[in-house]
Subunit: 492 residues, 2 copies
C-alpha cells in the first residue's frame, strides 16, 4: 500500500541533519552535561541509592532562592496584592505596599495584572525606573521612553543583538565579548550566526579589562568580520571583578572612536562586596566624559530582578535603558518587542519594587532595609570566605570576589589527568568537575563553558549556599583537589 | 582635533541601513500604526481635547481583562498563595487553593516562586498538564516529558520555528500558514528569513480549510523552497472558524504524506460557541487515525493562559506538547530553552490551575464553575450578537464566529475610496479603519494585517467588550459604514 511504501523510506522531518545548524552550534554549559548528571545523581539518591555523600549541592547557577535565600517580604507583598487585589482590604498588608500595588494596577489595562501591557512595559513602571536611574547616577538624566521592560535580562540582551546582527561572510557582524563570559552571549551569537570576537580579561590583574587587549581583538576581527558591538559584564560573571571608573572610560572612548554599540550588562550592580570597589554605571561614566560622548555613543544597559539582593529569578523581570538609538530604529525595536506581546506583568511589578523601595519615612522601611542588608552582608562574607579557603589549597588560585555571585578559581590539573581527559574526548576541566561531582556531590561548571586562555583551567561556583553549607562545600573541594593532585601527580 | 574630525563623519552604528534586514521586514499590524494612532487620540482626550466621541474603544487585541473581564478567583488565589506563602495561614483562602499552591511550591527550588525552574518547566506542572491532555483527549496517552512550559504560546511557536528554519536560497525552509493568519507567524517567518507559504482559507465556506488549496500551495512552494512545516490555528484567529474532524484528518494525512512537521495552535481550545461545532485536538485525531500516523507525524501543539475563560495574558503562561520528535533534536530543544533560563513561574502556576481546576467535591468548585460558565456564556452571546448586527449592515458580510474571540467581517469598499486610499499610499482597509477610528473612536485592525485574498477587504474586531459596550460599538460601526458607503458611492 501507499503508506507501507512510504514507511519504508520513513524519515523524520526534523532530525539532527535538518535541524537549524545555528541551533546545533549553540553551547550552553551552565545547564549542560554536568547539570544533567547532577540531576540523575539526585534522583538516584532520592530513590534510595548510595553515594559517598548524602546530597547534591548545586553551585552551578546563580539561583539564590534555590539555595535557601528568603524573598524580600515587601516585594512579595506588593506582587501578591497586585495578583489578588481583594487583599487590599486585609489589615495584615502594610499601606506602603498597598499604594504601590494600587498604582501599578492603575497602569494596567482593566486594572488587572492579567492584561497585556504595552510592549515596552507599564508606563508608570518605566517612569519609576527612569527616576531610579537618575538617583543612582546622581542626577544624570534618564528619559522613561528609553526604558524597556524585558523578560529577564536575557530577553533584553537577545533583542538588542537581534537588531544589530546581520550580514554574510566577511560582512557578518562581529560581537566583542569578554572571555571568560556568561554563556548567554556565545549562545546568542551562535544562534544568530554572528561572529564571536573574544577579548580576554586579565586574570593576573584581578580579571581587569585591558584596553590594549580590546584593540588587539578588534583589529584582528576587522580582517574577517564587521565588529559592531562590544559587550561588557560589570560586575563580572563568572569572574567577579568590578570595573574601575578609569577602565570604563577607556572602554567608552574605544567604542566612541571605533563607532561600536555598547551593551553593558549590569545585572550585578547591587552585588559589590569589597570596600575598595564601587559600581559605576556605564551611563554615568559616559555622561561625565562630556556631551561629545554622552550625545553620541549608543548604549544599552541591562538590569534584572534575578540578582542583587532580591534574587527573584523566577519572576523573569528586567529592563534595559537604551540611549542615543536612532529614532527610526527605536520604532523597529518596539515592533520587534510587540511580536512577543509583552514581558510578564508580575516580573514588571517586582522590578517596580526594586526601583521604588520603601523610603525611610515609610512603615516597611525598617524590615526591608534589614532584609536587604542581611542578604548583602552575608554575600560579602561568603565572597571573602570563598576566596580565602580556595587560596589556601595548593594548586588553586582564586582572584578576590569583588562582586556578582561567583568564584572562578584557576585550578592546576596535572598533565596525567589532562591526558586521561583527552583520551576520553573530554575537556580537562570537565573531567575534573565530573570527578568532583561523582565523589563529593558538588556541582560546579567547568571553565571551558565560559571560555578561558588555552592551557588554563577553572571552574565556576556560586557563593550562594548558606555559610554553613558553603564551608562544608569548600572543605570538600579542598579535600578532593588534594587527593586529585596526589592521584595524578608524577610523584606518586 | 581627532574627535572633531570624527564628528564630521559621525554616523550611528545602528541605523535603518545597518539594522538587521530581517527585523526590518517584520510586519506586525495588531500593534501597528492604527494602534499607535489610537493611543495618541486617547492621550489627546485625556488632556481635554475634543473629538466626536468621548472614549477610544480598543477592539484590536484579544486582551480580555483590559476589556473588563474579571479574573477567575481561584486562579488568582493559587498564584497569590505561591507568591506570598504567609497567606497559607489566612482563613480567607480555601484549602483547595492552598494545597495546590503548596504542591507547586514543593516543585520549586527552595520552595520559592523566585527560583529558576528547570528550562522545560516545573516537573509537577508538566505532569498535571499531561494528565489534563489525557483527560481532554479521552484517554489518548500523553507523556509529561513531551510537555514544555513556555512564556505564552508566542514563545513556544517561535522556539519550534527556530529549530525548523534553516537553509539559503532555494533550500530555505517553507512554512505553510493560513491566510488570514495571526501575524505572529508572518513576523516570525520574516525574522528567521524563512519562506512564507500561504494557503487560503475558504471565506465562502465559513473560513474552512480546503485540502485542495493545501496541495496547491505546497506544490507551488516546492518550486522555490523546502516546505517543512504546516501551521494551523484552530479555532481560528482572526477568522473564528472551528475545524471539523474530517478536515483535521485531511490535514494530518497531507502532513503524513508530504513529511511535514505540524504546528497546531490551539490556544482557543476552550473558546467554542456554536452548538454544531466542537473542538478536536490535532493529537486526538492523529491517534484515531491509527498507530501508523500516531507514531510518525511530528506534531507540536500550543496552549496559553491568555485565552480560554481565564484571559490571563499578562502572566505569559503557556505550554507546548511535542510528539514524535527525534530524541536528539529534543535535547537540542532543551538546550535552546535553557539559554533563556525558564518561563515565568507565576505563569507556570497559572497554567497549572487551568489544567488542574477545582473538582466537583472541592470547596471552590461552585464559584469556579460559575465564573467559568459566565465568561464563556457571555462570549457565546457576544459572538452571536456580533455576527447578527454586522450581517444586517449593507456592504458587510460576516461569517459565524464559531470560536476564538474575533469577528473578521468582509467589508465592501467603494472604488472611489480605494482610489483615494491608493493615492495616499495606503491599503484601502487601513484607510477605512483609520477613518473609523477618527470618527468613532473604535480601534480595529485592517484585514491587510492578517492577509486576505487580493481585492477583498476586512477588519478584525474582538468580541471582548461587555455586551453593552459591544452593542454601542457595533451600532457605531454600522452608522459609520453606511455613511462611508454614501460618501464614496458613485450614486452620490
Ligand atoms: C551576567 C548575566 N547577565 C544576564 C543574566 C540573565 O539573567 P535573567 O535573564 O534571569 O535576568 C545572568 C544570569 O545569571 C547573568 O549572570
Ligand atoms: C492564534 C494565537 N496564537 C498565539 C497567541 C499568543 O498568545 P500568548 O503568547 O499570549 O500565549 C495568540 C494571541 O492572541 C493567538 O491569537
Amino acid at each position: 500500500s501507499a503508506s507501507y511504501r512510504r514507511n519504508m523510506f520513513l524519515k523524520k522531518t526534523l532530525t539532527m541533519d535538518t535541524l537549524n545548524p545555528q541551533v546545533k552550534a549553540v553551547e550552553y554549559a551552565v545547564r549542560g552535561p554536568i547539570v544533567i548528571k547532577a540531576g540523575e545523581i539526585e534522583k538516584y539518591l532520592e530513590e534510595g541509592g548510595t553515594k559517598p555523600f548524602s546530597e547534591v549541592i548545586k553551585a552551578n547557577i546563580g539561583d539564590a532562592h534555590a539555595m535557601g535565600q528568603q524573598p524580600i517580604t515587601f516585594l512579595r507583598q506588593v506582587v501578591a496584592l497586585c495578583t489578588f487585589p481583594e487583599l487590599m482590604d486585609s489589615p495584615s498588608f502594610p499601606e506602603d505596599a498597598k499604594w504601590r500595588a494600587r498604582r501599578i494596577l492603575q497602569g494596567c489595562g482593566g486594572h488587572s495584572l492579567g492584561s497585556y501591557s504595552a510592549s515596552p512595559g507599564v508606563e508608570c513602571i518605566r517612569k519609576d525606573i527612569a527616576a531610579y536611574i537618575e538617583q543612582r547616577d546622581e542626577g544624570v538624566p534618564s528619559d522613561w521612553e528609553n526604558i524597556y521592560l524585558t523578560t529577564g535580562a536575557s530577553d533584553g540582551i537577545m533583542t538588542i543583538l537581534r537588531l544589530l546582527v546581520s550580514g554574510k561572510d566577511s560582512s557578518r557582524t562581529g560581537v566583542m565579548i569578554p572571555i571568560p563570559q556568561y554563556p548567554l552571549y556565545s549562545a546568542a551569537i551562535s544562534e544568530m550566526d554572528a561572529v564571536q570576537v573574544n577579548y580576554y580579561l586579565d586574570e593576573d590583574n584581578c580579571w581587569a579589562l585591558d584596553i590594549n587587549e580590546l584593540y588587539r581583538a578588534y583589529q584582528a576581527a576587522k580582517l574577517h568580520c564587521q565588529p559592531k558591538v562590544i559587550c561588557i559584564i560589570n560586575p563580572g560573571n563568572p569572574t567577579g571583578q568590578v570595573q574601575s571608573k578609569k577602565c570604563i572610560e577607556e572602554v567608552l572612548h574605544f567604542a566612541y572612536e571605533e563607532n561600536l554599540f555598547v551593551m553593558s550588562d549590569e545585572v550585578y550592580q547591587d552585588n559589590v562586596y569589597t570596600p575598595d570597589c564601587q559600581f559605576h554605571s556605564f551611563k554615568k561614566v559616559l555622561y561625565e566624559m562630556g556631551p561629545e560622548y554622552f550625545n553620541s555613543v549608543e548604549l544599552a544597559s541591562f538590569h534584572s530582578t534575578s540578582k542583587g539582593y532580591t534574587g527573584e529569578c523566577g519572576f523573569r523581570g528586567g529592563y534595559m535603558e537604551v540611549i542615543n538609538m536612532d529614532p527610526e530604529v527605536k520604532a523597529q525595536l518596539v515592533k520587534l518587542l510587540s511580536v512577543r506581546l509583552c514581558p510578564p506583568l508580575a516580573g514588571q511589578a517586582a522590578m517596580d519594587v526594586i526601583v521604588n523601595p520603601p523610603q525611610p519615612d515609610e512603615h516597611s522601611y525598617k524590615q526591608f532595609h534589614q532584609e536587604k542588608s542581611s542578604v548583602l552582608g552575608a554575600l560579602a562574607d561568603k565572597a571573602k570566605l570563598t576566596e580565602q579557603i580556595l587560596n589556601a589549597v595548593p594548586g588553586i588560585k582564586c582572584n578576590p570576589v569583588q562582586g556578582a555571585m561567583y568564584a572562578f578559581p584557576r585550578i592546576f590539573i596535572p598533565p596525567k589527568a589532562v591526558e586521561e581527559a583527552k583520551a576520553l574526548g573530554m575537556q580537562p576541566d570537565m573531567f575534573y568537575c565530573l570527578r568532583l561531582l561523582e565523589e563529593t556531590g558538588i556541582c560546579v561548571v567547568p571553565g571551558s563553558g565560559f571560555g578561558q586562555k588555552d592551557g588554563t583551567y577553572h571552574f565556576r561556583m556560586t557563593i550562594l549556599p548558606s555559610i554553613e553549607k558553603l564551608k562544608v562545600l569548600l572543605g570538600k573541594v579542598r579535600d578532593f583537589h588534594i587527593s586529585f593532585l596526589k592521584e595524578y601527580s608524577a610523584l606518586e
